[in-house]
């Protein structure tokens, strides 16, 4: 189990020596690794990652931040603001933030991700003549 083989981007073909893989499995792995080398796919992966990871971090930090503040600074959180207190306002703002992230994701995924996916689909259909689809009929079930 070499560490090199675990790094993303290193091809599975590096593990030819392992006996369990059949020729068909290796061919398939190679096919998909090649598909994933396309600029459009790399762009898609990067764009998704650049949105999803920060979005997850923001909502998790904000949500658990609120729980920690409520737990350990209850008096500060009970400060009256706008007829209610800070704690309730912050709880409401969680809904607003969740909706903002959700709608931003919808917009970005429509404008960016879906377009890249369409490009990839066109490329796969064109260059590989539907190989991926036919392979799946045998495999994925």
């Amino acid at each position: 189990m070499s560490d090199v083989a675990n790094k993303p981007g290193v091809k599975v073909t590096a593990r030819v020596a392992e006996p369990e893989l059949t020729d068909e499995q290796m061919a398939k792995a190679k096919l998909y690794e090649e598909l994933e080398q396309g600029d459009d796919f790399k762009q898609l992966t990067r764009a998704r990652r650049n949105f999803i990871i920060p979005a997850m971090i923001i909502f998790i930090v904000y949500y658990f931040g609120m729980l920690v503040l409520i737990n350990y600074l209850p008096d500060v959180m009970d400060t009256r603001v706008l007829g209610v207190n800070l704690a309730y306002l912050m709880a409401l703002s969680q809904f607003i933030l969740a909706w903002i992230i959700a709608f931003t994701y919808l917009k970005v995924s429509t404008d960016v991700f879906d377009k890249l996916v369409a490009k990839i689909v066109a490329r796969v259909k064109h260059h590989d003549d539907g190989v991926a689809d036919r392979k799946a009929e045998k495999g994925g079930k």
Binding site: E18, M26, I60, Y63, N71, A91, L97, G139
Partner: protein
């Protein structure tokens, strides 16, 4: 408007019962009509399990909301806010933000990579038999706990409302859910969810408006009242000139300031000079004579600030030694449990594309979020307008929302809201039944016993039989467990989902080296770990008659998530290093490519 609270102690009279039964019968008639319509469109496995992938994004969004807004949400959250104030609202917040995990991480890859069940996504590149067996087992565990919680809730509600026996109520719910699922499959289940979600939203909006009307639509007054909730009520009529009153609750030491009067009738303040317990009530001597007459059940007692955080989750060496940690732990289970709930995940198989799955989560988030914001008026409204001491003898905290409906809208509205609550439960149990039966019929029977070889008509037959069996077993178990605590069972479901399901879903989607051993150990460690911690926790053996007991519990947290979720991840991570699985690694690029692009998705 002055509500007579005496009514709250009387059960529905015959004509109100008739209203409740008629409304409920209308709902049943509509849903049976839907089932008949759906049954003629449910012939293949794809139609039975996934409604033929014909559901539109908005429809699925409403159905996801219907699946999610269960008895625990509608009855449970209103009750917990009514008794514990702001802290109860943390459930509402956690249950909505949880959908970001569903939206950003699982919904689209799951739709692209799977067919009918949660296990499909694991079996894409891992060894099908062991992972399907493990995933089917955890699906059954989560769905069964969730289902029994709903059925126990339904039984209690109907018993209180209509005076039916608990057993008959559970059997009625059980038979209806079996009919929906066995005959109408996922298509009927989906439309039952949609109808129920709309009813629940309308009921909640109307109830919220009626609550605000009591405060002349002044939100400022409403929130100001929340900071000074009377925590008790008069246990007997009091007359002008009296210098003592009988209270339902102990007002505390001499010198305490109490206020008497309902929210809408300008409460007056008095100082207590002496308190004497009498039967189960407390006789409080006042510093000055009463200036007017008060009816029995008028709000009376010291003020309590229900908007202040920490009423429920506090560190108190006598009762809740790790209350603050419990809040964090609860948050973890809520935020990471939803994305591992099988009955929510399978909903994404009913839409045609990953894009539709995405849009349906957005629809669900808008509906669910609006509903949870409105729990503010349901929960705090019940605290102010009904009050804890009235709710307790009238069915307990779970009855807060229906009792509030009676207080602000009269018995007709009470009957309506109760019928809505019953419809809510019915729709949720149908969703759970189809999920549990697909785990048995698709994962276990078809893919493990039959090696994936079975004709289409046989698959549907087996699915219908298992749906019937799942329903029948749940009826029996719910009757057997009728005294169990509903919130405890739902908490269990979320803890197991977050600890056993989510780690393996995430690893299988995003970690190339992840393998079958890791998936099986992850599910087992997460499942057994969370169950064990709950059993040795304050709601497990230590609890008597469903009352949480922190003192005698070995594990001091009611919510095991903070320990069991990391355990689940650790189990899946460590397990992976116990074996090498080149086949699974070789298939990762294919799965990753397909779940990312949707190419080849069904």
């Amino acid at each position: 408007m002055h509500t007579s609270y005496n009514q709250l102690f009387t059960k529905l009279d015959t004509s109100d019962k008739t209203v409740a039964i008629v409304l409920f019968a209308v709902f049943v008639a509509i849903t049976l009509g839907i089932t008949y319509w759906a049954s003629r469109r449910t012939k293949t496995a794809k139609e039975f399990y996934a409604a033929g992938r014909s559901i539109k994004a908005w429809q699925n969004g409403v159905a996801v909301a219907g699946d999610y807004m269960s008895a625990a949400s509608f009855l449970g959250i209103a009750g917990i806010i009514a008794f514990s104030g702001f802290d109860g609202f943390m459930y509402s917040v956690g249950w909505l933000v949880a959908y970001l995990t569903v939206l950003l991480v699982v919904a689209e890859p799951l739709r692209n990579g799977g067919k009918y069940t949660m296990a499909d996504i694991l079996a894409y590149r891992l060894k099908a038999k062991p992972v399907r067996a493990a995933a089917a087992f955890s699906t059954l565990t989560v769905s069964t706990f969730y289902m029994i919680a709903q059925m126990v809730g339904a039984g209690t509600l109907v018993k209180l409302l209509l005076g039916w026996d608990f057993e008959w109520a559970v059997i009625t719910v059980g038979i209806l859910m079996i009919v929906y699922v066995v005959f109408g499959g996922m298509l009927a289940t989906t439309w039952v969810q949609i109808v129920k979600a709309l009813l629940l939203m309308v009921g909640t909006v109307v109830l919220s408006i009626l609550v605000l009307a009591q405060f002349d639509f002044n939100i400022g007054t409403f929130f100001n009242e929340i900071t000074q909730v009377r925590t008790g009520a008069l246990a007997a009529d009091a007359k002008q000139g009296d210098t003592s009153v009988v209270l339902t609750q102990n007002p505390g030491a001499a010198g305490t300031l109490i206020r008497i009067g309902n929210v809408t009738s300008s409460p007056e303040s008095y100082n207590v000079t002496k308190v004497e317990p009498k039967d189960k009530t407390f006789v409080a001597t006042l510093d000055k004579p009463l200036t007017k007459n008060y009816d029995k059940f008028t709000n009376a007692g010291p003020n309590k600030d229900f908007l202040k955080p920490g009423l429920l989750y506090k560190d108190d060496p006598k009762t809740t030694p790790f209350g603050k940690l419990d809040l964090i732990s609860l948050g973890l289970a809520l935020v990471f449990g939803t994305a591992g709930l099988p009955h929510i995940l399978v909903r994404f198989y009913t839409v045609p594309t990953a894009r539709a799955a995405r849009v349906s989560v957005i629809w669900a988030m808008v509906i669910i979020g609006s509903f949870y914001i409105l729990t503010t008026f349901l929960g705090f409204g019940a605290a102010l307008l009904v009050t804890g001491p009235i709710i307790t003898p009238n069915g307990g905290s779970n009855m807060s929302a229906p009792l509030l409906a009676q207080a602000v809208g009269g018995t007709f509205f009470f009957a309506t809201i109760s019928a809505v609550a019953f419809a809510t439960i019915l729709a949720v149990v149908a969703g759970l039944t189809i999920t549990a039966s697909s785990a048995i019929a698709h994962d276990f029977w078809l893919n493990i016993v039959k090696n994936g070889k079975e004709s289409e008509s046989e698959q549907v037959l087996v699915a219908r039989i298992t749906a019937f069996l799942v329903g029948a077993v749940s009826i029996g178990v719910a009757i057997f467990l009728k005294t169990s605590n509903v919130a405890y069972l739902v908490g269990l479901a979320f803890a197991v989902a977050a600890s056993a399901n989510l780690p393996v879903i995430i690893f299988s989607l995003f970690w190339k080296k992840f393998n079958t051993t890791g998936a099986v150990t992850g599910i087992i460690v997460g499942l057994v770990g969370s169950l064990f911690l709950i059993v040795i926790g304050p709601n497990g053996f230590a609890a008597t008659n469903g009352v949480t007991n922190y003192n005698d519990a070995i594990f001091k947290l009611a919510n095991p998530g903070i320990v069991s979720i990391p355990l689940g991840f650790l189990g899946a991570f460590v397990g992976t290093f116990f074996s090498k699985e080149p086949a699974s690694e070789a298939k990762f690029p294919e799965m990753y490519f397909r779940t990312s692009t949707g190419i080849g998705a069904e």
